[in-house]
Amino acid sequence: MVLNMMRIILPLLSIRIVFSNSAYIILAGSIAIGFWILFSVFDQLLFFLPVLVFYLPRDAITGFILSNITAVIMGIVISMNVYMLKHSKLKISKSLFSGSTIGILSSTCASCSSLGFLLISTFGGLGIVALNFLSIYQILLRLVSIVILIWALYSMHKKITKSCCILNGLDSIRNNTDRKDTGKHMM
């Protein structure tokens, strides 16, 4: 039962396909770390000056957990996207608008919830209004972004495994044709 649930939730096959190449593991790791830094800076948990310091105040624990989850899923989804771009015959313009990219954009936007100072200093009064909205709905926005990313992960999984099936199908057709040809030659 649990295993079945896991099968539905975790697109293991596509993850196995993509991350069999260690370069994609490095890519996913770097992206996850990059987003972790970005989220922590915007959440005012990580400071570079006057001293490099990270701290986790009590009020930020939930947000921090959610941003960690987002960063990890982002790493996986983006590297799967790169894999798709490299291996699928879709045109870049098409694949850029695939579900996963929309998921990434939404999630990045959800992380704007902690872009407080940047918003205020860039947009002044309007930035304050935006910041108030984002700070009130920060957790909700992050949850929504995680759901979108999971959906993006699932859609990537479907695409990757589908292309596998097609390739397998093509291979088997090719093999059959080759066999027939060889048979003809044999005859």
Binding site: L27, Q44, F47, P57, N132
Partner: protein, 260 residues
């Protein structure tokens, strides 16, 4: 044999191509992050991300300076009516620009301020001065005026703590006039009729507006909490933007103490 060699060289080529692509993507991504960080650094005169700390003497308009004293000197700040905490002879002053509705200010008050108090204020090394920067919502001004009213009776810091402890979402009505009076009634020894008349007449509205002008036009503060760490005489000010943890304050304060 040849076919095997060909396929292995193809595979090596493919792996090389993959690695190249991935490293390019990583580089682009990292430079994007760096770009974003540096953009936010340049978007305000000083940034909370990278360059939070900078000398700002040049930002203080000459006409705003007191002829005999620096605008930021402790005596001047007290003269302006700003609430303060600590020993008046302390060599360093922290000027805190905050809004009672700002959740990052509440974070600073709950997490960092108590450690600063124990480490520096109680030991007579630092003075804390509060400046109002109520810009988070329409109810912020009322909260600032109410807090300033408690300062008349020497109860500002108690009221300050009560407000931050009871903070709710911005403009949700938690700092309505009635609630501000309820919060004040929790303070023992506060004369409520004086407080109520002060709040109802908006006695300190002009003081709060002066604080806002002081913070925003002189230093470009729009974001809260923002801090100026300065020598007692108002010299060598440095800015910290954001709800920094204690180590950031410690680094600046210790540097100033060593310099003295």
């Amino acid at each position: 044999m040849n076919t095997n060699k060909d396929s292995s060289s193809k595979r090596i080529k493919k792996i090389n191509n993959d690695t190249k692509l991935i490293f390019t993507v990583v580089l682009v991504f990292l430079s994007g992050i760096q770009g974003l960080i540096s953009f936010s650094s340049s978007s305000s005169s000083s940034s909370y991300l990278g360059g939070q700390v900078f000398a700002l003497q040049e930002h203080i308009n000459d006409n705003e300076k007191d002829k005999n004293n620096n605008t930021l000197s402790l005596s001047n700040l007290i003269k302006q009516g700003s609430p303060h905490l600590g020993d008046l002879s302390a060599p360093i002053t922290i000027i805190d620009f905050s809004d009672f509705q700002c959740y990052l200010c509440a974070r600073y008050v709950k997490e960092t301020e108590p450690i600063i108090y124990e480490t520096y204020i109680q030991r007579g090394k630092v003075n804390l001065v509060f400046k109002h920067l109520p810009n988070r919502g329409s109810d912020s001004m009322g909260a600032a005026i109410a807090a300033q009213c408690t300062n008349d009776q020497g109860k500002f810091w108690e009221y300050h703590r009560i407000l931050y402890t009871n903070q709710k979402p911005i403009d949700s009505g938690w700092v309505s006039k009635d609630n501000l009076k309820k919060f004040a009634s929790k303070i023992t020894g506060l004369n409520m009729s004086n407080f109520n008349s002060c709040l109802d007449s908006e006695k300190y509205k002009s003081l709060v507006e002066k604080d806002i002008a002081f913070g925003s036009s002189s230093f470009g503060f729009q974001d809260t909490p923002s801090f100026i760490i300065v020598n007692n005489d108002g010299s060598k000010p440095e800015i910290l933007r954001g709800a920094h943890p204690f180590p950031s304050f410690k680094a600046l304060i210790d540097k100033k103490i060593v310099q003295k």
